[in-house]
Amino acid sequence: MKPMNYLDQFRDKELVAGLAKRIRTLTAGLEKPLTFMEVCGTHTMAIYQFGLRTLLPPEVRLISGPGCPVCVTPNGYLDRAIALCRLPDLIITSFGDMLRVPGSSSSLMEERAKGADVRVVYSPLDAVQLAVKNPGKRVVFLGVGFETTAPTVAGSILAAQALGLDNYFVLASHKTMPQPMGILSADPELAVDGYLCPAHVSAIIGANAYRFLCEEYRVPCVVTGFEPTDVMQGVEMLVRQALAGESKVEIQYSRVVRWEGNAKAQAMLAQVFTPFDADWRGIGTLPGSGLKIAEAYAAFDAELAIPVGVEELREHPGCLCGEILKGKVSPFNCPLFGRTCTPESPVGACMVSSEGTCAAAYKYAR
């Protein structure tokens, strides 16, 4: 027997074909197609990358949701990051995706080309190390992401505190699930028949977090992994619930996700961050849907600790990222898609992030 590598097993062609056949049999002859939303950007990527839509019958429609952290980050956040990177003796550190996202008039990549010190790191702890090595400079990490990323950012603040650093800061724009799913569920235009709930976010927050969606909005929820067999099985579970008229939370991704989530990570988040009403690009301000740095750690909050003038916000006319994030418009129906908005010169964030719906559609589905 081949040793398990925890990758190939979940990309098994026969298993995927079997699941596709079951989904086809279950949905054969349905008059109205079932519409499921994959909430998380990583799902969107997996679905495009493995061509899973081409394996599903026309009776099952997958739409992409607001779970791409870069995509839902408002322009104003980028404008502040850009303003910061223009300050002397300041290093901006970020995951790579943020660099190409256009703000109101520039991007971090463009600023880097003009001389700003903007560096890609693979972990916020690398940014802390940079602060240790550069005591004469201020190091700002761009804290963008959901509950999957937020604990490591919280950890970096705690590490910086333990090291006694006064030159490490986080510009925080963390968002939380599942508040926006409630807004989307209440939207009559969307009529979602079920959610493929995020995999790794759920590992932190736990599957119980989605119960209110089933109870209040009667929408089936399946916490689903990111591999092709996971996605296909998650879809099959949603189909079964929808056909039976059920609405409950199920865990497909049981090898990782528990009902109550990761208590340690949750405690770390509660220690370092405070919930606040976050602004979601395209969706609006949602009560309690973001994490800002708690008062006790204000010294590490770039927004408070490093005052800087930020340019006036300018939205890009014609950009439909907002509607695309809500699943209302497919990238192919955006007048800018593939014309003025391409991965080389993106207009909206959905075209930039490796998890963005438009980037995935451009790269894989044309």
Partner: protein
């Protein structure tokens, strides 16, 4: 957005590189406005057909598992000549050194260049050295130019792909990019992957027995197999259908790619070639490669299915179908 500045992505080998060439460099420099860029220029001097090419090497770090900037600078230029079906003969070399760079490191690089040149059967015949003040360069940059001779009447060209052709690669993809990336400061992953940096002219010489059945040769360096195939699809006006299951990819490359969210199809190679061969000779071409030390893991990875404006599609490992585009933006700057 400010369109007047050069971005790192302009050096990625992907779409931005193409835009820079098409919109600025070729219109300003070329006398013929020749479209369709190949790996080397074909020239005829006094009845002799020559291939001429140049390439600059800025890889970071300069030493990486499986090679260093020196052998890369020799092999890369040798390969560009070989991809035109030429026999590489002579190289020039230009060094740009940063003040403070160690002579002992330069000596290591020079030794690798010499042994790479010896094993490729080329001679380094002229060169130049410049030194820039500390901070104005990054240790060492190398430029090499090369001349080769075409000793046959075959036309091997990116525009030569025909419907029915089989696409063959001589081994595992993505090794060079992942080896360099693994050696980068701050990442230091022990992937066990070595760069595939190698001169391919010997392998190409053996493939030339295929004669008219050999339509395209191209080395998938920056931008990876995906970008190179998309270029050829556009140049040839065909659709290429890849079969993901048949792509040879080392487990270490797969692992690093899945951790970092990279796609091996876009990761650079420095010792790989893609050959487009007429279907009736494809099995023979595969056998030639597999007999060669640089082609043990060769595989047929796809075929040309129909005429089109230049599409690349892939049957995925789980049976779905998806499109394949050129690399957009920068994936891994300074990979070669």
């Amino acid at each position: 957005m400010d369109n007047d500045i050069i971005l790192l992505g302009h050096g990625s080998g992907g779409k931005l590189s193409h835009q820079l060439l098409d919109d600025l460099i070729i219109p300003k420099l070329s006398q013929s406005l020749a479209k369709g860029q190949n790996d080397a220029a074909l020239l005829e001097i006094g009845g002799t057909k020559l291939a001429f090419t140049t390439d600059s090497y800025v890889v970071d770090p300069i030493f990486f598992p499986g090679g260093n900037i020196g052998d890369l600078a020799v092999n890369g230029t040798v390969n560009d000549l070989a991809m035109m079906g030429a026999r590489p003969l002579y190289l020039s070399v230009g060094f740009i050194l940063e003040e403070g760079f160690k002579k002992s490191e330069l000596a290591l690089i020079l030794s690798s260049m010499r042994s790479a040149a010896d094993s490729a059967g080329v001679t380094i015949v002229t060169g130049d050295t410049k030194v820039v003040p500390r901070g104005k360069g990054d240790r060492i940059f190398i430029n090499t130019s090369g001349i080769g001779v075409l000793e046959h009447g075959l036309r091997i060209d990116g525009a030569g792909g025909r419907v029915g052709d089989q696409v063959i690669v001589n081994g595992s993809i993505g090794d060079h990019g992942i080896a360099v990336l693994s050696a980068r400061e701050g990442l230091e992953i022990d992937s066990g992957i070595k760069s595939d940096s190698a001169a391919l002219n010997g392998l190409v010489e053996e493939l030339l027995v295929l004669g008219e059945a050999l339509h395209v040769l191209r080395d998938p360096t920056r931008g990876g197999v995906a970008t190179t195939l998309k270029e050829i699809a556009i140049q040839s006006g065909v659709t290429i259908l890849l079969d993901e299951e048949s792509l040879p990819i080392n487990p270490g490359v797969k692992g690093v790619c899945s951790i970092l969210g990279l796609d091996a199809l876009y990761v650079a190679n420095e010792g790989k070639l893609l050959a487009f061969v007429a279907p009736e000779r494809a099995a023979e071409a595969l056998a030639i490669m597999q007999r060669h030390p640089l082609g043990k893991d060769a595989a047929i990875i796809g075929s040309l299915t129909e005429s089109s404006e230049g599409r690349v599609q892939m049957k995925t490992s789980v049976g779905g179908v998806r499109g394949v585009e050129m690399l957009a933006g920068e994936q891994l700057p300074r990979i070669c």
